[in-house]
């Protein structure tokens, strides 16, 4: 059984997994893993050609085109509003999309987003007609501010990029889900294993964006299948309605008409 479809900035999607295109051991492994993941949105980036690498992006571009996915360009490596806005404009021209995964880093050690620059860049890019997917911390007030600016999608981190630590602060993520019910929320970054993704989906997150957990698995294609199934299972569980936790045991086997010697009070 498949979980319900969803929409992202008006685009209907079946898969709830966004997958990155970096860090795979080879281009073929990347393609096989992305196909196995059944993802319909892939993240990409851009860079300046160097003198000895003319036309180096062409092979990558051909593979991406063949995958026939929606492209979500990022602004990776940007540490200022100016850099991020400039990169977003270049990405729009290069990839022919107004979607942008907005990354404005504030700390090079843990790649933590700079909340102040993120808000400023988001404001500019929305005014410039972009559909912004901010990579953000899980701070409620920051996320509320981004929503007020017009973001329909927010992508809080589960843990710092590439750490595979899972959801370091489930309480904060749960709070975001409860306080921003109208927003589309994806956990982006920090997912290490399929059960991390299940946890996020069971909290009511709409999707997961990940890269390293699949790309750096011993068998990326197999791991992509695992994540696809996990994300679907987590969403189905959320839609089915998870039972509340209880402090006391409650028998699951009916006790009516038990023999007298099995009745305990």
């Amino acid at each position: 059984m498949k979980a319900s479809n969803w929409t992202v900035y008006g685009q209907e999607l079946g898969s709830r997994l966004f997958i990155g295109t970096a860090l795979y051991p080879s281009p073929k492994v990347m393609v096989d893993a992305i196909r196995a993941s059944r993802a319909e949105v892939i993240t990409v980036s851009l860079r300046r050609q160097s003198a000895n690498q003319a036309n180096s992006g062409e092979q990558f571009w051909q593979m991406i085109e063949d995958l026939n996915c929606h492209l979500l360009p990022n602004t990776a490596g940007c540490y200022s509003v100016k850099e991020a806005v400039k990169t977003a404009h270049m990405a729009r021209e290069l990839f022919d999309t107004d979607w942008v995964k907005l990354e404005v880093m504030g700390d090079s050690y843990n790649l933590q987003p700079d909340p102040f620059a993120l808000v400023e860049a988001t404001k500019i890019l929305i005014e410039d007609g972009f559909k912004v997917f901010p990579y953000t911390t899980d701070d409620l007030v920051l996320c509320q501010k981004l929503a007020e600016l017009g973001c329909e999608v927010l992508m809080p981190w589960g843990a710092p990029i590439g750490t595979g630590q899972g959801l370091l602060n489930p309480y904060a993520l749960k709070t975001l889900r409860e306080r921003l019910p109208e927003l589309t929320l994806l956990v982006d970054a920090g997912i290490g294993k399929p059960s991390d993704a299940v946890q996020a989906m069971e909290l009511g997150f709409d999707g997961i964006l990940l890269n390293t957990a699949i790309a750096e698995a011993l068998e990326p294609e197999t791991m992509a299948y695992a994540f696809a199934d996990a994300i679907n299972a987590g969403r189905l569980a959320y839609e089915a309605g998870i039972m509340p936790k209880r402090d006391n045991a409650k028998p699951s086997t009916p006790t009516l008409d038990q023999p007298i010697w099995q009745q305990h009070g």
Partner: protein, 70 residues
């Protein structure tokens, strides 16, 4: 260097090219192909204006291409 040459920066490297020259002519002369965009002095030059846009001395021309990303 002859008098009709001009110095520019191309992908971070100094380059001497003939002038006048449009972006289209420049890209052909440098065999730039595939999926890319042209950025001159930090501004994207849309493809629709490559035929008209004349390169100026001192321009910083960058070719941006797709790469993998997370």
């Amino acid at each position: 260097m002859t008098s009709n040459q001009q110095q520019i920066q191309f992908n971070g490297e100094p380059l001497s090219i003939e002038q006048p020259q449009t972006v289209t002519a420049f890209l052909e002369s440098q065999s730039v192909a595939g999926r890319f965009i042209v950025v001159i002095n930090d501004e994207v030059v849309p493809k629709s204006s490559w035929d008209q846009h004349a390169i100026q001395a001192g321009d910083q021309i960058e070719i941006m291409s797709p790469i993998s990303g997370g």
